[in-house]
Amino acid sequence: MARMNMVQALNSAMDVMLGRDPRVVILGEDVGYFGGVFRCTEGLQRKYGEHRVLDTPIAEGGIIAAAIGMGVNGLKPVAEIQFADYIYPGFDQVVSELARLRYRSAGEFAAPVTIRTPCGGGIRGGQTHSQSPEGIFTHVCGVKVVMPSNPYDAKGLLISSIEDDDPVVFFEPKRIYNGPFDGDPHKPAVPWSAHPRGEVPEGHYTVPIGRAQIVREGKDVTVLAYGTMVHVAEAAVRAAGVDAEIIDVRTMAPLDVDVLCTSVCKTGRCVVVHEATRFGGYGAELVATVQEHCFWNLEAPVQRVTGWDTPYPHAFEWEYFPGQARIAAALKEVMEPA
């Protein structure tokens, strides 16, 4: 099997889908000739032509609106928003239109648009290149929300998203485009080629939307994480020597409640981890869901480990980032509650 990093895996997903399905089109800022600022669409315009891999004006709202119109006209558009921080100008088209079209037309119209967008910090991007706004989109019924944590899932989930008849907002944790990251910026970078999930089939396959994955079985505590934080959690658990069950949520909406809650009911303890700010964030939904379903099994309050409730500061990325230490503290807290 081929070894790919996440950028290559995403590229391969789009390549496969452009090749298989003439309805697939790619559009976004700098995605065409240049291949995207993160190179995810590299070579695709050359291969499929500039009528299927389109550079666009710099207008996220226009990109999403045009994608909706294309979707209504039978295409399967994959729109790239250059950074998740720049999705807000397109927010109305996502919330009021993309997410609502099927419902308001009682199923007669729908736009199967996939919106790909890199999220997360740790690349010295400061507050406008580091955000993780997935939580906001999970509150919008009518769109699915996905975030892979490795190349295998990235490709499989992206193919599923493009094939899905519903709109998907597909977040790509850019910190792990090139390799898994355990939260320690001082360690040398590790490439995906050394990771089992860096093995990626060349052709078509899918990873289902709506299914979480247990990445480490354990019995003492359940850690719920996604994206970059899956790797940080793994490292933190290893370092803490706790027998934790780590679950990669993978799909934020619809949520795989069964897998999550079965685990928490088993372990009786839970730590929720994400990079986004805490207040009103997606972690709150995970906590609420867990306590609703596992209350009688819980032996300690569910803990949230998250970014602080501030913008992502350029100089203090590693003080902001919810790294291993913060996860370790939370693990300790749930294992030996005060």
């Binding site: 089109v25 009528h51 299927r52 666009t56 004006p57 207008a59 709202g61 226009g62 609106a65 045009a66 994608a67 909706i68 119109g69 294309m70 979707g71 209504v72 006209n73 039978g74 295409l75 558009p77 100008p89 109305d92 088209q93 009021s96 239109e97 609502r100 079209l101 099927r102 419902y103 308001r104 037309s105 009682a106 199923g107 007669e108 119209f109 729908a110 019924c141 009518g142 699915k144 008849d165 519903d166 709506g210 909406a253 619809p254 949520l255 409640v257």
Partner: protein
Amino acid sequence: MTPRSRLHVPSPPARPGQEPDFSYVQISPAGAVGRPDVMAAVRDMEEISVQMVRVLDEENLAVGPWNPHLEPAELQVGLRHMLLTRLFDDRMQKIQRQGRISFYIKSTGEEAVAVAQCMALQPGDMLFPSYRQQGLHVVRGRNLVDLMCQCLSNTRDFCKGRQMPIMYHWGKGNIFSISGNLATQFPQAVGWAMAAAIKGEDRIAATWIGEGSSAEADFHYGMTFAAVYQAPVILNLVNNQWAISTFQGFAGGEHRTFAQRGPGYGIPGIRVDGNDFLAVYAATQWAAQRARQSGGATLIEHVTYRTAAHSTSDDPSRYRPKEEWRAWPLGDPVLRLKAHLIALGEWSEERHALLEKELDAHVTACWKEAESYGTLTAGPSLDPLTMFEDVLKDMPQNLVHQREELRKELEARPKATPAVQPQAKEG
């Protein structure tokens, strides 16, 4: 602070109690504006964005280069559609006043826009309307019963009770779903047209936006994408002078015609007498031809007047002279087309009265049928549990659970009304 202010604040020509004043509307004589070749360069046709394309003259005859030379039979069909639209509107407004539907929006005075345009387009062309183009459905032959059932949110409502009245859609008729959020359809239509071009089809798209709504981002997105990709789309801006209580100066109309926005983006702009059925038809035909020949988009500003209240929730006498519509210099589209047909010897007051009676009876019959499928308050009603459908194509677990929760809640409710599965049918 106020006395020092140097801010310019637009102000309408007349407020309640004042004399209506439409002297700000620049009107060209019928036939006076040239008709450029449909493939001409934008820079060579700025005139049509500043002047006003008009066909019907003061003798009610069709003159000048924009005369589309329609057969009398076609004109009669147009008149019929406009009249039906108007009678339908009038009836629905009455019905709303009786509390039998929750809301309504009339297109009175603006019927030529939707009707003439739709007639000038092909059935396969895709339409992305705003909420004041019910005439599109009429022209494309939709059963009024369907529209009424939508307004009633009843058992035959093709929206399954999900939308406020008038938020129609019609898949088979190629009419897109109306959004409650202004302007969003504008760039979507451009995306649709881009897809048509990518697929090499020669269907085109048409979309409508109010002059007030043109201040929204979506107008700019639509214009920009249409210009960049020369998308085969007709971008219509309906300047009916008012946006709820706000006159068109607050959208930028004080300084420039809205049609002139077009050339600013490199798109032809046509300013047309929106109450002149023939002019609207001709401008649309021109734009459609240009689009089909890969000439790209056209912006058409329809100069018209919102004779009605904004909606049934609105009382325009609070912000404009009560009889302002009487002073509107471009008259009424129905009366003008009628007069034209009479001038041609192809119509008469008698035939008109007869037609009106026939259409009114038709509306009555439709309403009777529609009501039999249920109203908001009485008769058979939709099954509320259907509200969980179509959020996603397949119902996710959380909605399955919530549906079950609601089922239990409803079972326990004192007086359950009989639930009916939706049977929306298309006409």
